[in-house]
């Protein structure tokens, strides 16, 4: 009896001592929430993590802004999903309408906004100003991501709280465009006073969102919402800061695109040798998925046949593209002569979100819409002089309508392949209840193959066709989402 009792006690003791280790549920290779969000360094790491997550979206930034436009022509390695985008014939299972990486960024931002304030109590060296700056960056990047989503899809779900545990995974329906744009505006306005004008070094200033980066995004959002006076005010904040200037035309390619972080740049997505961009496999001739459209050389930039030393638009041949084989040169070229490509392990050209020339043209567009075409023409002239642009047609600075078309064309030349063209054309076309829908049709008549144009012209009459379908996986997992009516 006693022996049995002894055995039972021994077994229980053994069980009790080792129980803790077996019952321990902490992950072996990760940090749980209780161990993170304790110091200000961790908050900074989380913020940098948001910038890193933007890198995963780079291919989509390019495709969403350029694929459906007249700037690009699909190459021999383009897959059917990319051809469908060009033909305006997308299905819901097109892999490039998957917004997963965008919502990942949004979740990281929400995490910071929700959890960083707790660090104030835990870390005494963490100041309120530092916290505001971190939250300001998160709000800005969240607003930028939602801005891409709302311009590309129209209506998307608006998630403003972080998904921290499995319980937080709830299905939410789409919100209307107006609600999302208002949220973007309120986020940006809330973040504005918190962001510094400089982080201390040039690379940090261009790679992280400064006050001026926020102003740039705000200007873009205001112009999308047709709020011209506010857009002009934001552009003026950047122009009057005196911190940005147009790079000399002779150094256009080398300074802005080859080296990056130039005096003209406001906010660039940084890549480097450790983190390469996806463009090598998209643009180099051996792998070409996307090339430049052939009409760019003579119809967009112009070819000078008159002068003995021909004038060349510095933004065109051998900067944006190479006219010999219509390769997109901006991200894969190693010099401005059109001969040498970057090596595959040197493909770290930055993705430029906003640069000074973009802001000048946004200002020109917004003051032109306020019936000041003459002033707008002066800005455009400044841009064209920097570029040694060729005069394909005279600039009529007395007429608002013709000036607005001229500014759109100048944006096409200046910001070629920087993910802006589709949004520029759509913004101009949808103004005043699609008064200028013809801009979309003209673009389609160049970009689509001859035997699909008629169907495309009809499709573009339907405003829902200007936005993407929702990815089929999202519809299957979130039953509250409704597909864009054009793609039913």
């Amino acid at each position: 009896m006693r022996k049995r009792f002894l055995y039972i006690v021994l077994i229980c003791l053994a069980g009790l001592t080792s129980c803790k280790k077996w019952m321990d549920l902490k992950p072996q290779d990760g940090i749980v929430k209780d161990e993170f969000w304790n110091t200000k360094e961790q908050v900074d790491a989380a913020v940098i993590g948001v910038y890193t997550s933007l890198q995963a979206n780079t291919e989509l930034y390019f495709l969403w802004g350029e694929a459906r436009t007249d700037m690009v022509a699909p190459g021999f390695r383009a897959i059917q999903d990319e051809m469908d985008m060009v033909n305006l014939n997308m299905l819901a299972n097109n892999r490039y309408v998957n917004w997963r990486t965008f919502y990942q960024t949004i979740n990281f931002c929400n995490n910071i906004i929700q959890l960083a304030p707790d660090v104030l109590q835990k870390d005494n060296t963490f100041t309120q100003q530092h916290l505001d700056r971190a939250i300001g960056e998160a709000l800005t990047l969240r607003a930028l991501t939602y801005f891409y989503l709302v311009r590309s899809f129209g209506e998307v779900p608006l998630k403003l709280d972080a998904t921290i545990s499995d319980q937080d995974i709830v299905n939410i329906p789409k919100s209307s465009t107006q609600v999302i744009l208002d949220q973007i505006l309120s986020d940006l306005k809330k973040a504005e006073p918190s962001l510094p004008v400089s982080y201390g070094s040039n690379d940090l200033d261009k790679g992280r969102v400064t006050r001026f980066g926020l102003n740039a995004i705000l200007a873009d959002v205001y112009l999308w919402m047709d709020k011209y006076a506010e857009a002009t005010a934001e552009c003026d904040k950047i122009i009057n800061s005196g911190r940005f200037s147009l790079v000399n035309g002779r150094e256009f390619f080398n300074t802005i695109f080859l080296t990056g972080n130039s005096a003209e740049s406001i906010f660039e997505l940084q890549f480097d040798v450790q983190r390469l961009n996806p463009f090598y496999t998209m643009h180099t001739p051996a792998n070409k998925r996307w090339g430049a459209a052939p009409h760019l050389a003579d119809n967009v930039y112009g070819i000078d046949l008159v002068n003995p030393v021909p004038l060349v638009d510095v933004r065109g041949d051998r900067a944006a593209f190479r006219s010999t084989d219509f390769t997109i040169w901006k991200y894969v070229g190693a010099e401005d002569n059109g001969s040498t490509f970057r090596a595959p392990d040197q493909s770290f050209a930055h993705w430029i979100f906003y640069r000074y020339a973009d802001i000048l043209l946004l200002k020109a567009e917004s003051i032109n819409e306020q019936n000041k075409p003459l002033e707008a023409s002066r800005i455009v002239k400044e841009i064209r002089n920097r570029a040694s642009a060729i005069e394909l047609k005279p600039m009529d600075s007395t007429n608002k309508a013709s000036m607005s078309l001229y500014i759109l064309e100048e944006r096409q030349r200046e910001l070629a392949f920087e993910g802006k063209r589709w949004y520029d054309v759509l913004r101009n076309a949808k103004r005043n209840n699609y008064a200028q829908r013809q801009l979309l049709l003209s673009m389609a008549s160049i970009s689509l193959p001859a035997d699909r144009r008629q169907a495309a012209f009809t499709k573009l009459q339907d405003n829902n066709s200007h936005y993407f379908p929702i990815f089929f996986y999202e519809l299957q997992t979130n039953k509250l989402l409704e597909q864009n009516p054009f793609y039913k």
Partner: protein, 558 residues
């Protein structure tokens, strides 16, 4: 311990028996690999939408093969669509309808291939229906909602429904195949009376009124001219048309110009407007006469051509009056009168180094050297020149106007094309290069290859695949003698000086007036410096060794 054992054993046995029984349930093993249904089952599972269509499929006995394996595309009309078809045809119900008519209708809705909406173009679908006729697709915008249209008769309500053996597209109306032939359809429209009468008198009416059982021979496309189009050109009646064109007095004679006029308006394939612009030229029923088609400002223009620098305006095919499907093809409405032009064969003096890709580079064109590299098998740096992707796969444009630069000093425009070529035994160099010529009028021509004689590589010349009679040795220059003696030996001095020779490769019959293919194939020797300047196509009955070409491109007639 001993008295515990029996009860233990009993408990053990009970435990085993209970376990055995509870585990002996029959487990449902899934035998099927998928829950996907095939087309007929999909339709049967949705009686609210497709009960009438299912009835039609059952009555025509198509349900059985639509449920078997295969790859089909079915356009399935909803019940509303079938009902409106029944009322339009005064049929009480599906059971009362004529079985043959139903069979035709059903076959018109099924394609024996999987076609999804990304394959829809502005023209016809790539494969015909089981009925034999083609369907065309398009898009329609009604009240800011856009849908695909099929055959202009139905809208697609739901597209790309994937089933086990193909795709279903749900449409809102029944598609009706065309009932009339092209001839009957045109006859029924009074606007084409003059054209129809011309068709009758030349014998083409019967041709266009038959539906050939062989689908390879059945399809025709007709570009019909309305009475208004003829009146715009001064022809107000059939008699006027006959007087103008019928020179032999017998329109049924294939040599009669009226016969040629009608034959020139018929193409031997089915080409809707969306398809007709995919090719720059189409052969007509008139032997060796082509019509050229292109899209100008999104309108289909026929025969808008430039010959010898003069633009000849073309004829518009009016979109909303064209694409009229018939049982044996399609006919379109052209808004003006056109006829085959007789062109006298003209010499083509073609400078090889003149093509858009180099002309668009003002920094290099007639200024400097430029190399075109072909980076992969499918890479086409120059649209009209292609070469073997092998080893040294480049082609170089070279220019130089210094009098001592003997490679170019007397070349036409001072520029040449340098192409590395090698015989097939050498595997580090291209063995062939192929050019697309400028438009050459049909006729009989002598082909002269004009080059800078330097390195001994012998090439074969092929025009449209046809081997020319003499191979050309690019290292040989012209011998001594007068121009007439040289011509009799097959040489000519085509420049005003320098080591440039023109060699007669052979005589060729150019069958149609359009662009053709010229190919050089190396058969012996190998060198990277082979310099080509021009190719001359000179009609056999015209002087051959004149004009010569000065370095600035002007023709010299001595």
């Amino acid at each position: 311990m001993k008295h515990i054992f029996p009860s233990c054993r009993f408990l053990l046995v009970m435990a085993i028996v209970v376990a055995f029984y509870s585990n002996c349930k029959k487990s449902d093993i899934k035998m099927t690999t998928t829950n996907d249904v095939n087309i007929a089952s999909y339709i049967a599972q949705r009686p609210d939408s497709f009960s009438l269509w299912k009835e039609i499929l059952d009555r025509t006995e198509t349900s059985s093969f639509l449920d078997a394996y295969g790859s089909y595309t079915v356009f399935a009309p909803t019940n509303t669509g079938v009902k409106s078809w029944l009322t339009a045809n005064n049929v009480a119900s599906v059971a009362a309808a004529d079985l043959n008519v139903l069979k035709e209708i059903v076959k018109f809705h099924i394609l024996e291939d999987t076609i999804t909406t990304p394959a829809f173009t502005d023209g016809k679908l790539p494969v015909p229906t089981m009925h034999g006729q083609f369907l065309i697709t398009g898009a329609l915008n009604q009240g800011s909602v856009t849908s695909f249209t099929v055959n202009r008769q139905a809208l697609i309500l739901q597209s790309n429904i994937r089933t086990g053996n193909g795709f279903i597209h749900v449409i809102d109306n029944v598609l009706q195949p065309a009932k009339l032939t092209i001839a009957k359809a045109l006859e029924g429209d009074a606007n084409y009376s003059i054209f129809v009468q011309a068709m009758k008198e030349t014998g083409h009416f019967n041709l266009l009124n038959t539906v050939d059982p062989d689908p390879n021979k059945r399809w025709k496309t007709v570009l019909a001219e309305s009475n208004q189009a003829l009146a715009d050109s001064g022809i107000t009646s059939y008699a006027a048309l006959k007087t103008k064109y019928s020179k032999t007095g017998n329109p049924a004679n294939p040599l009669d110009s009226l016969y040629i006029y009608v034959a020139y308006h018929i193409v031997n394939e089915i080409q809707f407007l969306g398809d007709i612009i995919t090719s720059p030229s189409h052969l007509t029923l008139q032997p060796n006469e082509v019509i050229s088609t292109q899209l100008i400002n999104n309108e289909v223009m026929v025969n808008e051509d430039e010959f010898n620098g003069i633009v000849e305006p073309g004829v518009l095919l009016v979109r909303n009056k064209s694409d009229n499907a018939a049982t044996n093809g399609v006919w379109h409405h052209s808004n003006a009168h056109f006829i085959a032009k007789f062109r006298y064969p003209t010499a083509v003096f073609w400078d090889l180094a003149t093509f858009p890709e180099i002309m668009k580079q003002p920094a290099y064109y007639r200024k400097a050297l430029f190399t075109f590299n072909k980076n992969s098998l499918t890479d086409r740096p120059i649209a009209d020149i292609d070469w073997h992707f092998n080893g040294e796969n480049y082609l170089r444009y070279e220019w130089g106007n210094s009098p001592t630069a003997t490679l170019y000093n007397f070349a036409c425009y001072n520029d040449i094309l340098t192409i590395p070529l090698g015989a097939p035994s050498n595997n580090n160099r291209a063995t062939w290069v192929e050019f697309t010529t400028p438009p050459i009028i049909k006729g009989r021509y002598k082909v002269w290859i004009c080059y800078r004689n330097r390195n001994a590589v012998t090439i074969n010349v092929r025009v449209n695949g046809e081997l020319m009679q003499r191979p050309v040795n690019l290292g040989q220059g012209y011998p001594g003698g007068s121009d007439a003696e040289l011509e009799s030996l097959g040489w000519k001095k085509y420049t005003t000086g320098g080591s440039f020779a023109g060699r007669l490769a052979g005589v060729v019959d150019i069958p149609t007036t359009q662009r053709h293919k010229l190919r050089f194939e190396a058969i012996s020797g190998t060198n990277r410096d082979l310099h080509f300047d021009m190719v001359h196509f000179i009609p056999v009955d015209q002087p051959q060794y004149l004009p010569r070409f000065a370095p600035d491109g002007t023709k010299v007639w001595q």
